[in-house]
Amino acid sequence: MGWRLALRPYLLIVPALLLTCGILYPFGLGLYYTLFDFSASKPQPDMVRFENYETVFTQEAFWNSAWVTVLYAVGAAAVETVLGVAVALLLHRSTLVGRVLEKILILPLMIAPVIAAIIWKLMLQPSVGVVNHLLRPFGLGGVQWTDTPTGALLSSIAVDVWVYTPFVAILALAGLRSLPTSPFEAAAVDGAGWWYTFRRLTLPMLWPYVLVAVIFRFMDSLKVFDIIYALTEGGPGDSTVVLQIRAYLEAIRFQRYSFGISYTIVLWAVVYLAAMVLVKHLGKIQRKAAEVK
């Protein structure tokens, strides 16, 4: 009887463990493939060791993709953080307007990113899109939104911002609502101004919540795929070819499987490193916030 008791927790996780292994297997297979020159035109591949990775790192195309990916991720995460926290602060005032609007805050977040990109693609169409139609009175009716390199990148970041700002906002709002009241009462008694209270009390205590949102957003936008695929397909030229799009083109369109997977493995390593740094930072911030409280 005793050994059965000791085994029980293991028995409970066995199904999940098996399923996890079923997902880890293709991942391991992918790693293995990167050591070969496996493609549709070469179904009997040869071992090439780390040649795929060497090719990746010496390619102009890779560095371009890496740069575009970082620009996208930093841009999207930064704008979403500032905008999301601002929206949360405004909603936290809990006026009648705010209470009504809060109920519909999450709508864009629940729309599939690819559908969001389709919606914006229709709206940003230069000649017949509604955005240029609305800008025409201001003399800005001819903006080529997704047809210039800078415009395409900014447009795709805008779609990301449209979808994900509510994500930051609801986490920040949850944070604001959990703050203790006594430090704020004390500050009010001392006659502290709004800015001082915000800088010295609200922000330090709110940071842990915001940082969780930032970690999620930054790591997700490093591996963006849907939005770019539907909005620009990486164009014009290769101005919005982020790493996952590049991997897709290599592996699925040109059927160079090994080479495409090598791209994703490099991206996976970058995401993993970013996560380590950010989570370490999160621990520090949480301890700081606890001191303020």
Partner: protein
Amino acid sequence: MTVRKRLLGWLADAALILYFVFALFPIAWMVILSLKPTNELFSTYFSFSPTLDGYRTVLGDSEGIPFVRFFVNSLVVSLGAVALSLVVGLPAAYASARWRFKGSENLMFTLLSFRFAPELTVIIPLFVLYQKLGLFDTYVGMVWVLQLVTLPLIVWIMRSYFADLTPELEQAALLDGYTRKQAFVKVALPLVKPGVAAVSLLAFIFAWNNFVFPLILTSNEAQTVTVGALSFLGGDRPKYNLTAAAALVSVVPPLLLALTIQRYLVRGLSFGAVKS
């Protein structure tokens, strides 16, 4: 002072309304586009004679895009993925919340790493593998790969719900002669029922909204609405009203579900890291 305060209050409300115009206008615009007759698509913007023809075309499969079947496919694979994740995920979540042992922690963190892994790392090998195994473009293949999305979510969030539950109730049940299994099914599970419901719906939404898996691992039989909606943009003259109708039809289920689980979203979206 009071005048200044009131002015600032108005300004804040105005700023809020401005953000919500940005957030909601695209959805409203899709409704307008989807109701436009084809001949008025580009001649007018806000004045038109509404028609349901766009929806009839999309739901009548008359463009050669079997959209209704894609919709059913989305339903089947999302439900299948959530069901499988619940069956294997709930016991694992319970075990890792109640007993601390090495294997469970490793499993939990492996699952969490799935949440942040670039999807293509797994999909490209699967693309090759599925063709060999005959799983390409099948429900089974889709349900399997969607575990990457649904399983980490369900296990992590349910673990945080079980951990919040005081173990004393289950211990009392055990003293009353319940078996451990009965204590779990009859005591612990009913107490976290709202959590299970909310996390299932959230997992369903994410499975439904997924695009990259069906894009690469299906071609026709098991294709879903997210890929289907994109096909309306093809051709040299994209049919705006049909694209808008298809987009709207495909966002209805997630939007309706999302509004019912508002209270649980903070914990759900942050994987239990933030509790409201």
